[in-house]
Amino acid sequence: MTTMRLRPQGIGLILGLAITVGTSFGPVLQARAQGAAETLRVANPVAIVSLDPFGAKAADQPTLTVAQEVLEPLVMRQDGSIVPWLAESWENPDKLTWTFHLKSGVRFADGSPLTSADAKASLDRLIAEKGPLAGLWAAVDTIEAPDEKTLKIRTTQPVGTMLSNLTMLGIAPAAKIRDTAFFNAPYGTGPFKVAAFTAGQQVRLVRNDSYWGEKPKLAQIEYRYIPEVSGRITALENNEIDFTWGLPPDQVDQVRGSQGLKVESFPTYSNYYFWFNSSRKPFTDARVRQAMWHAVDFAQIQKDLFPGTATVAKGPIPQAVFGSSVQKPYAYDVAKAKQLLADAGYANGFETTMMWSSQCCTAVREFAETLVSYWAKIGVKVVPQELERATWLDRLLKLDWDSTLTDGNTLTGDADFTLARLYLSTAKRMGYANPKLDELLLAARAELDQGKRAELYAEAGRIIWDEAVGIFPLDMMVHAAYRTNVTGFKPTPNAMPRFDSVSKK
């Protein structure tokens, strides 16, 4: 018993020591010198787990958000149209050939000049990695670099989406493209280069002082992952960060009311949509699907649940996307819904299920529960199934579901990315098959005349809308919130904020 010779002071000392250790230990990052005028502190809503935009994360928004500041594409989409970037011009000698002429005088951040070999290596790797964007390049036959400034892409069939696809391809130096260590701190021809990266936690970018274009005003950008919405807002209010985005509707108002903060809401390429599994009864009947649409008052839902954060959709893809169109709205009409159900032989309604991923989108549970409530009023009992994302994905791709609520992002800003990827009958995504629709979508993909492509997508959109392949209720807005000393932010509809034009007072 007497072996324990701890005096009370001794205990106090140990406790004090432990507290010190406990509070200063490990991942607790010391707050950096705050308010450094040239450093933009950004809190991203989703973890950045990789900086390699060529591999498995090629379609991952957090990865692309950082990558776009570092690696630049040959062409860029600005205000809806394609503009030259690293390529200053291009032409089609025939329908299967694309020739790009690269800008001269562009150098990577390490000083080496940009050549067509770099562009070729980048595209080669993107295709070879078989990542989620590889499908965009399925028709590519050969990629050649006949001289330092010319890139020649030959395809097996005409590809109308070539330019849109190229906006997604950042060019990395050919010498480093297969070096995995390079992607821990990648650099390209872009305005910034990566200085430090801790997967899942933070990224630090520094200005590329040899940038060929207009030099950015910021010296540094620090991205830090703060998953909790309230955590991001608090950090913003406490001047621990300067910029964040991805705020849910109910918290936008709180930030709007805050002094020294600014909220910018802008339309995006993203929308909410609700799919029927058209290969399962009773959704095999278009009248049932249309009835479900007529049964819900989406204008009311928008007003109550998504004020200022979403708009009632006008077509199956958001209006900011190339190839979008305005369709005839479905009126909220319970009597008509019931009539349609009766016509289809379901006068007494039916029972079905609706699944969604718990990580899907803002206010998804509220939205889903409200839908269930509306449908109950026409006698359709919908059992809600909120699933983990992994389980949801598994069932989605196995077509093991009745209906699902989710969100979609037309990443490339081109209707093909959403319509042809999902609605071709060969995609087998929601059990809907329509030869007429397939024909339109394939024709649009092979058409090099962008005006004609837009018309074809409008027609395809009409079929999807009128046949109620899904319900397309709301187009999403994105809310960026930042401190008022941040100026020059230009929103882009791909919901991946860029900071090359931003400055901080």
Binding site: V229, S230, P248, D250, Q251, D253, Q254, Q300, I301, D304, L305, S358, A363, R365, E366, A368, E369, T370, V372, S373, A376, V383, P384, Q385, E386, L387, E388, T391
Partner: protein, 293 residues
């Protein structure tokens, strides 16, 4: 793995009679109130978990709604009456609590008695299983099983029972071990009583009292566990008026609508505290050896 089991007493100390024990009576009455609310409440509140009313969402407590009814606890994020939701939640919590304890208690006690009475390899296997189970973070086990089975009332009960049987098994085993060697058991055995007879008439009676005490203590824990699982999205399916779900729903509205998370939490905490005091008191009265040292 275990610190020496506390020496159990087969004969529970008989409760003092005559004097009203307020520390037993008050929490017991409080719990009865919950049972009454759970059984009869839904008939009075007419709560419909499916019916949403977005135009009347996020109304603060004591708001008069458009149909003239009073929202005592306010309305939730889709305009449902929070008071009705909480009452309906009581039904779920109590159902889960009672059924889980019945299942875990029966299985755990049976295994514990068996292990203690038979000893040998059976004892080793059961106790090693119990060790693994204890070393395994129980919330993790629940998360995994819930992810496999999906959210539903039955699955929640299964999951929770699976993480609770150990407690019962350990107490039952310890009691059995202590009783097994006592004179009256030896006497019965010498007189030719069958194993079944000995277990039924000598061992079980000694096991019942401590098991009931453990059950009371565990009741609160099970209710909290259900709420925690539902909170994580792995318990009851969405749309069910579980307290855990209601609390989770309110997380995005802590400033605009503080009541959504606060009210169900208060109701839950009050019940768990009452059950805790009750369990404590029962433990003191019936089994002084189980008290905290």
């Amino acid at each position: 793995m275990s610190v020496a089991p506390a020496a159990p007493s087969p004969h529970a100390k008989s409760p003092r009679r005559g004097k009203l024990d307020l520390r037993l009576l008050v929490p017991a009455l409080f719990c009865t109130l919950y049972v009454l609310a759970a059984v009869f409440g839904p008939f009075l509140t007419h709560y419909d978990p499916v019916a949403t009313n977005t135009s009347q969402r996020l109304r603060p407590p004591l708001t008069e709604l458009r149909d003239g009814s009073l929202a005592l606890f306010g309305t939730d994020q889709v305009g449902r009456d929070l008071f009705g939701q909480v009452i309906a939640g009581a039904q779920i919590s109590l159902t889960v609590g009672i059924l889980t304890l019945l299942l875990a208690g029966t299985v755990g006690t049976a295994l514990g008695v068996l292990a203690g009475y038979r000893g040998g390899w059976l004892d080793t296997v059961v106790m090693r299983l119990a060790d693994i189970q204890l070393a395994f973070p129980s919330i993790l086990l629940a998360v995994l099983i819930a992810a496999v089975l999906g959210p539903s009332l039955v699955n929640v009960i299964l999951v929770l029972a699976l993480t609770r049987w150990v407690v019962f098994a350990r107490v039952a085993r310890a009691q059995t071990l202590a009783v097994r060697v006592r004179d009256f058991v030896n006497a019965s055995r010498t007189l030719g009583a069958s194993h079944l007879h000995i277990v039924r008439h000598c061992i079980l009676p000694a096991v019942v009292a401590p098991i009931l005490v453990v059950a009371t203590v565990q009741f609160g824990l099970v209710i909290v566990a259900e709420a925690s699982l539902s909170f994580l999205g792995l318990g009851m399916p969405p749309g069910t008026p579980s307290w855990g779900i209601s609390i989770a729903n309110g997380r995005n509205y802590l400033v605009t609508a503080w009541w959504i998370s606060t009210m169900p939490g208060l109701v839950l905490s009050a019940l768990v505290i009452a059950v805790g005091i009750l369990g404590d008191r029962l433990r003191d009265r019936f089994d002084p050896n189980l008290t905290t040292r």
